[in-house]
């Protein structure tokens, strides 16, 4: 059970890349030399998924043993990077809570933000630590009954989120969020199915 990252993004209706409003991640369970790449990938995947999440929709995207849950509420989008075991219900309760909390703290100011925000938002880091145990998020669920109303769309692969003609490989190559090192990790992981050494 692991939440690796929580993010809040601003989705632009005209289809340009979403802007990161807040980002909290915990990459300590990754190898020392992989951590910077993992962080880059979180940003990259977060942007990719949020960009393709229509307003008012909840979706879960499966990527190997991880799931990216996202909820776009009127252009403000919350994302959670969880592993496969984290109950979907708890994940979306948490995202709901994050969005409420964001609006309470920052109001409507997000609508005018144009560039990524690197300032940490303490609440998000606290939430990341607290909700590692889904039992905590379950408590939220008991309060938020309205959750059942919108359906969740489940994507079995990240490719199925992409539009026709788009390929993850080419997005990885083009992305400015990924360094050369991360691209190498991506290719290597693909080649070796992420379980073997480099030689």
């Amino acid at each position: 059970m692991k939440i690796t990252a929580l993010m809040v993004l601003k989705c632009n209706p005209e289809g340009s890349d979403p802007v990161i409003l807040a980002n909290a991640s915990d990459v300590n369970h990754f190898g020392y030399f992989q951590r910077s790449s993992v962080k880059e990938f979180i940003v990259f995947v977060g942007r990719t998924v949020a960009k393709r999440n229509p307003p008012g929709q909840r979706q879960s995207v499966q990527h190997e043993e991880y799931k990216v849950h996202s909820y776009n509420r009127n252009g403000l989008c919350a994302l959670g990077f969880m592993d496969d075991h984290y109950p979907v219900r708890s994940a979306f309760s948490l995202l709901n809570q994050v969005l409420d909390e964001y609006l309470k703290n920052f109001g409507e100011s997000w609508k005018t933000v144009q560039s990524d925000n690197a300032q940490p938002w303490p609440y998000l880091n606290e939430a990341l630590a607290k909700f590692q145990d889904p039992a905590e998020a379950d408590k939220l669920f008991k309060i938020q009954r309205e959750l059942d109303e919108t359906k969740i769309i489940l994507h079995k692969t990240i490719d199925s989120v992409l539009e026709r003609g788009e390929k993850l490989d080419s997005l990885v190559e083009k992305s400015s969020d990924l360094s050369a090192a991360s691209q190498m990790f991506y290719k290597q992981a693909k080649k070796t199915n992420s379980c073997c050494t480099i030689l």
Binding site: G31, F33, E65, H85, A180, T197, I198, L199
Partner: protein
């Protein structure tokens, strides 16, 4: 800059490994990462200040006992390490043969050859962790030396390898070999067990479904003291509860429980086979799993663990009336116990087969697991009633197999109609239609 000389690279790597025995993590890194890594720490490294180090600063990175090797030099480095190792191994073997004739084993040349072999095999394994000959050559030297500190260093070395390839079978098996070698003559075996167990926990967090790591942890159980087994059982609970999709930790807990039951059987004489502490332990585990099943919908590992618990219960606590040695009140406790147990399972089954009108969780999977669990339970209960609980566990499993083959169970007239077969059947057909052919045979299978 010219391509660096492979031999120099190897010397440099071996120098680093020699100078920092506390290296605990290794990674192969992209050349562009060096800039980033150096930025993070500020000033460049000044620990080794020979002329050649500056050339290697963009190829090797070491700080805080983390060693990074540039992917650019991996191939020449590997070739050099392999050649050096093969040469050293050949010489060592030759000398060993000569030594046998001359019956002198501690000559200075043999010492230096040994250290050469250890040095080169270490570099080689860091670059390619599944090089079996290199692992075996290390075993050869270690078993000849029989030095406790060398054995301990080998454990450290193996965990360095595991830091970047946590599924390396050879590295795990080297650990087991070392533990076997030192088990008889080391005073802090319990402490080592604890460290091994922690290592598995740490690596399991990093690499999911790591069978080799968990196999290792299960293997450790036979070397643990009973107190330690109990400790491990309590400690692993939290991890298991947070990794419900990973069967491995539940399997580990099963192994620990079996050991506790074995111990209790050995320590007690015939007329007092009832151990209240174990009884409580099993009961707690039962309730805990039930809580998890309800919280984490559709996780097969939890249902399988429950099957194990129930089997344990039947074997150790649900002995029947035939057991004359039991005091009558104990017999009553057990009869009440098993009735309550079955009622409880039926209740669980009912609550897990309600299909709510939402796609939030895997309720379909949950219902399938609950129903197949019920079918299984019914089979098990057939035997309990039929054989009046008088069978030993071995016989019990044999009989299950026998009856599964013979379809004998249909002939057993048993009063457990509480389990609603038809409901199970329609439910299974509903939630798992792709196996409808199988479900059609269900009444025959479990009546």
């Amino acid at each position: 800059m010219d391509e660096p000389d492979p031999l120099e690279l190897l010397n440099h790597l071996e120098g680093i490994l020699e100078s920092d025995p506390l290296i605990d993590e290794i990674g192969f890194i992209h050349p562009s990462q060096f800039v980033l890594l150096n930025e993070d720490v500020g000033t460049p490294s000044t620990s080794v200040d020979s002329v050649q180090t500056t050339n290697f600063r963009t190829l090797f990175w070491i700080r805080d006992h983390k060693l990074g090797i540039s992917t650019k030099v991996l191939f020449p480095l590997y070739v050099a390490a392999k050649n050096a190792f093969v040469e050293a191994y050949k010489n060592y073997k030759l000398l060993q043969r000569d030594d046998k004739h001359a019956s002198m084993c501690c000559s200075s040349s043999s010492l230096s050859l040994e250290s050469e072999l250890m040095k080169h095999s270490r570099a080689l394994l860091i670059l390619s962790c599944d090089f079996g000959t290199a692992w075996n050559s290390r075993k050869l030297v270690l078993s000849k030396k029989q030095s406790l500190s060398m054995f301990m260093n080998e454990l450290i070395f193996s965990s360095v390898i595991l830091s970047h390839s946590p599924k390396s079978e050879q590295a795990w098996s080297q650990r087991r070999w070392v533990i076997k070698m030192i088990a008889g003559n080391c005073s802090n075996l319990q402490e080592i067990m604890e460290r091994e167990s922690e290592l598995v926990k740490k690596l399991a967090e990093r690499s999911k479904m790591n069978y080799r790591a968990w196999y290792h942890r299960c293997w450790l159980v036979s070397y643990m003291s009973v107190e330690q087994v109990l400790q491990e059982f309590n400690k692993s609970r939290e991890w298991a509860g947070l990794h419900v999709a990973d069967n491995s930790c539940f399997h580990y807990r099963e192994r620990l429980m079996l050991r506790l039951f074995e111990e209790s059987e050995h320590s007690q004489d015939q007329d007092a086979s009832f151990d209240p502490e174990l009884h409580k332990l099993l009961k707690d585990e039962f309730n805990w799993v039930e809580k998890l099943i309800k919280r984490y919908v559709g996780r097969e590992a939890l249902w399988l663990h429950r099957r194990f618990l129930l089997t344990c219960w039947i074997r150790y606590f649900a002995c029947g009336d035939h057991d004359r040695s039991l005091a009558s009140n104990q017999r009553n406790i057990r009869a009440v116990d098993i009735d309550m147990l079955i009622d409880n399972e039926l209740e669980l089954f009912r609550s897990c087969t309600i299909l709510p009108d939402s796609d939030f969780e895997d309720y379909q999977a949950q219902a399938t697991f609950a129903a197949t669990y019920m079918v299984w339970l019914k089979r098990v209960l057939c035997f309990i009633y039929f054989f009046n609980l008088a069978v030993s566990f071995e016989l019990f499993t044999q009989l299950i197999l026998y009856v599964l083959n013979q379809q004998l169970a249909g002939a057993l007239a048993i009063d457990i109609q509480k389990v609603e077969t038809s409901r199970v059947k329609s439910l299974l057909t509903n939630v798992c239609p792709e196996k409808s052919l199988l479900w059609n045979y269900l009444p025959e299978l479990c009546m």
